[in-house]
C-alpha cells in the first residue's frame, strides 16, 4: 500500500507543477464572472444561468484534466524511459498502475474541491444560500465519475497512442453523457439485431449521467436519498475495479521496450 501511495504522490506533485489546472481554472473563473456580470431586464439577482455555465465549465475542465493526466502517465514513463528504474525497485507493475490511478484520482479530487469552492462562492454571492449537503453529494458523485473516466483513460493509454486515447476517451465520455441514457429507448424502438446490439452497448457502458447532479444543484432540489448515493458509489466502484483489472492485465503483458 505504501508503494502505491509513493507512486501516487509523484503523480500529485506532477499535476501541481503542470499548468493545465491553473489555466483551466482561470478560464472557468473568467468566463463565469464575465457571464455573471451581464444583467437581464434590470434583474441583478438572476443566478441559475451563471450556476449552469459555471458547472458546465467545471465538468468540462475536470474531464480534460482527468483524461490528460491519466492518459499520459504510462506513455510518458515509457517515453522518458523512467519506467525501467521504477520497475527495478521492489514494486510490481500492478502496484505502479494502481499508484498512477490513485495519484490521478486524488489530484483530480483536489482540483474538484478548488473548482467547487469557487462555484460555492459564486452561488452564495448570487443566491445567499449554501445547500452544503447537496454540494457535498455533487462533489462526491462527480469524483466517482472522474474515477471511472481516469480508469478508462489508463486502459486506453495501454492500447492507443496518447493523442488518440485522449480524443477517443473525451468523445466517448461526451457521447455517454449525451445519449447513453437513451440507448435503451432507442433499442426498444429499433428492434432486431441493431436493437440487441444497442441494448448490449447500453448495459456495457458506464452510465456517467447517474453521477450528474447539476440539474438538482442549479434548480435547488433537495438532496438525493443516501441509499441511492450508496448504490451509485457501488456502481462506480464496480466499474473502476473492472477497468483497473483490465488495465493491470494489459500492463502486465505489455512490452516496455
Amino acid at each position: 500500500m505504501n508503494r502505491i501511495f509513493a507512486v501516487a504522490e509523484v503523480v500529485i506533485r506532477e499535476l501541481i507543477r503542470r499548468k493545465d489546472f491553473y489555466v483551466l481554472f482561470v478560464l472557468t473563473a473568467a468566463i463565469t464572472l464575465l457571464m455573471g456580470s451581464i444583467t437581464f431586464f434590470n434583474e441583478d439577482t438572476i443566478a441559475r444561468y451563471v450556476k449552469e455555465i459555471c458547472l458546465l465549465l467545471i465538468w468540462l475542465a475536470t474531464l480534460v484534466i482527468t483524461v490528460t493526466t491519466a492518459g499520459r502517465q504510462l506513455p510518458a514513463e515509457k517515453e522518458s524511459r523512467t519506467i525501467f528504474p521504477l520497475l527495478a525497485k521492489p514494486i510490481s507493475r500492478t502496484e505502479v498502475l494502481l499508484g498512477k490511478f490513485v495519484g490521478c484520482w486524488l489530484a483530480v479530487g483536489f482540483t474538484l474541491i478548488v473548482f467547487y469552492l469557487f462555484f460555492g462562492v459564486i452561488s452564495v454571492a448570487r443566491e445567499h444560500e449554501l445547500p452544503l449537503v447537496n454540494y457535498l453529494q455533487a462533489i462526491w458523485l462527480h469524483w466517482l465519475m472522474l474515477g471511472i473516466v481516469g480508469a478508462l483513460a489508463l486502459v486506453g493509454s495501454l492500447l492507443l497512442t496518447p493523442a488518440a486515447n485522449v480524443s477517443i476517451v473525451i468523445l466517448g465520455v461526451l457521447g455517454i453523457w449525451t445519449v447513453g441514457e437513451f440507448l435503451n429507448q432507442l433499442a426498444a424502438r429499433t428492434g432486431g439485431l441493431v436493437g440487441w446490439v444497442t441494448y448490449a452497448v447500453y448495459f456495457a457502458i458506464p452510465h456517467l449521467e447517474i453521477f450528474d447532479l447539476r440539474e438538482r444543484i442549479i434548480h435547488g432540489w433537495e438532496p438525493v436519498a443516501w441509499g441511492a448515493m450508496g448504490l451509485a458509489t457501488l456502481y462506480a466502484a464496480v466499474y473502476m475495479a473492472m477497468l483497473l483489472t483490465l488495465a493491470a492485465l494489459l500492463f502486465r503483458r505489455k512490452p516496455l521496450n
Partner: protein, 322 residues
C-alpha cells in the same frame, strides 16, 4: 511542437481579421453590428440555438425536469411555455368565445372549463398536474435497473417556478432573441413573463423590439394588445393593437390552405370584447359573427351575438319610444 502552435496562432489571426473586416463593413453600412455579427458567425444555425435557448427557458420553468425527445414523442411535443401562452385563451380543445368569462384575468387564474385539457388556465403555473395531464410525467417509466437508478438522481417531480423564481428564465429568452431576432415565440413568451413578473414597462419594450424585427407579426401585435388590456391603460390603444393583429393575420393567412384559425379566434374574441366594453356594439357584433365561423364553441358565441343584438335593439328602441 512549435509548428502546430504557430499554425494555430496564424489561423486565429486570420479568423479575427476576417471577423473584424466583416464587422467594420457592417458598421460602415450602418447595420446593427451585434445581430449581423451573430449572423456571420452562426449563419442559419443561430435559429437552432435560438430554439434551444427557448427550450432551455421552458426547462428552467420546470426546474430542470424536462422530457427527453422520446418522452415528448409519447406525450405532447413542443415548447410548453409557448403552448401555455396560447392556452391562456384556451386553444385546445376549447377556443374561447366572447362569452367565456375569465374573471379578473389575474396571473394564475384558472378557467374552470379548462382544467386539464392538455394545458389549462391562464398559464401553466395555475394548475396542478396529475396523470391525466398530457405533459405531467412521461408515459414510459424506466424499465431496467440502470434507468431506475439514474431516475433517482434527476429532478423527479413536475413543478413550476413560482414566487418570483420565473426571472431565472429571462436570460435564455433574451439569448433566444439575440440569436434569432425573428423568433416571434421568444418575444411573445418573454413579453408575457415580464408582465407576469410585474415588469410591464420592460415587457412592452421587449415586445416593441420584437415588432421592430418582425413588423408583420400578428402574434406580437396580439401580445401587445394583451399587455395593454392587462394594464387597463387605454382601451382605444388595445383595440387598435388587436385590429392591427387581425390585419396582419389576414395578410399572413389569407389564401393559405390551412390558415391559423385558432389565432384568428383569439384575436377576434379579444377584439370583440374590447369593442363591446368600449360600447362599439356594431364593431363587436361584426367580430363575433366572424368568430362564430371559426370558433369551436359556436353556441357560446351565438349567445353573445344574441346578447349584443338585444343591446342594439334596446338602443334603437329607446330613442323611438321617447
Amino acid at each position: 511542437m512549435r509548428r502546430p502552435v504557430l499554425m494555430l496562432l496564424l489561423l486565429m489571426v486570420c479568423v479575427l481579421t476576417l471577423t473584424g473586416f466583416v464587422l467594420r463593413e457592417d458598421a460602415l453600412r450602418g447595420r446593427d453590428n451585434s445581430k449581423s455579427a451573430l449572423a456571420v458567425i452562426f449563419g442559419d444555425g443561430r435559429r437552432l440555438f435560438a430554439n434551444h435557448f427557448l427550450t432551455k427557458a421552458d426547462e428552467y420553468f420546470h426546474r430542470g425536469r424536462y422530457p427527453s425527445i422520446f418522452e415528448m414523442a409519447e406525450t405532447q411535443p413542443g415548447n410548453h411555455l409557448v403552448e401555455s401562452l396560447g392556452e391562456e385563451e384556451g386553444n385546445e380543445p376549447h377556443v374561447h368565445g366572447p362569452d367565456c368569462d375569465h374573471g379578473a384575468e389575474e396571473p394564475g387564474a384558472v378557467h374552470p372549463d379548462h382544467a386539464h385539457d392538455g394545458h389549462a388556465g391562464d398559464e401553466e403555473s395555475g394548475h396542478e398536474h396529475d396523470a391525466s395531464c398530457a405533459h405531467a410525467e412521461p408515459a414510459g417509466k424506466p424499465d431496467d435497473w440502470i434507468a431506475r437508478l439514474a431516475s433517482r438522481f434527476e429532478p423527479d417531480r413536475h413543478v413550476h417556478l413560482e414566487g418570483g423564481g420565473e426571472k431565472e428564465m429571462l436570460p435564455w429568452i433574451q439569448l433566444a432573441v439575440e440569436m434569432d431576432p425573428h423568433n416571434v415565440d421568444a418575444y411573445t413568451v418573454g413579453g408575457y413573463w415580464l408582465w407576469h413578473m410585474g415588469k410591464p414597462v420592460e415587457a412592452e419594450r421587449f415586445l416593441r423590439d420584437g415588432l421592430r424585427n418582425n413588423p408583420d407579426s400578428p402574434e406580437i401585435y396580439f401580445e401587445l394588445g394583451r399587455l395593454s388590456e392587462r394594464r387597463a391603460k387605454d382601451s382605444r390603444l388595445t383595440a387598435n393593437l388587436y385590429a392591427l393583429s387581425l390585419e396582419k393575420w389576414h395578410r399572413a393567412n389569407d389564401g393559405l390552405a390551412e390558415p391559423d384559425t385558432l389565432a384568428l379566434a383569439q384575436i377576434l374574441g379579444r377584439l370583440g370584447r374590447v369593442k363591446e366594453s368600449r360600447g362599439e356594439l356594431d364593431a363587436a357584433l361584426e367580430c363575433y359573427l366572424q368568430l362564430k365561423a371559426v370558433s369551436h364553441s359556436a353556441e357560446g358565441v351565438q349567445r353573445q351575438i344574441d346578447s349584443i343584438r338585444e343591446q342594439l335593439a334596446r338602443q334603437t328602441h329607446t330613442p323611438q319610444s321617447r
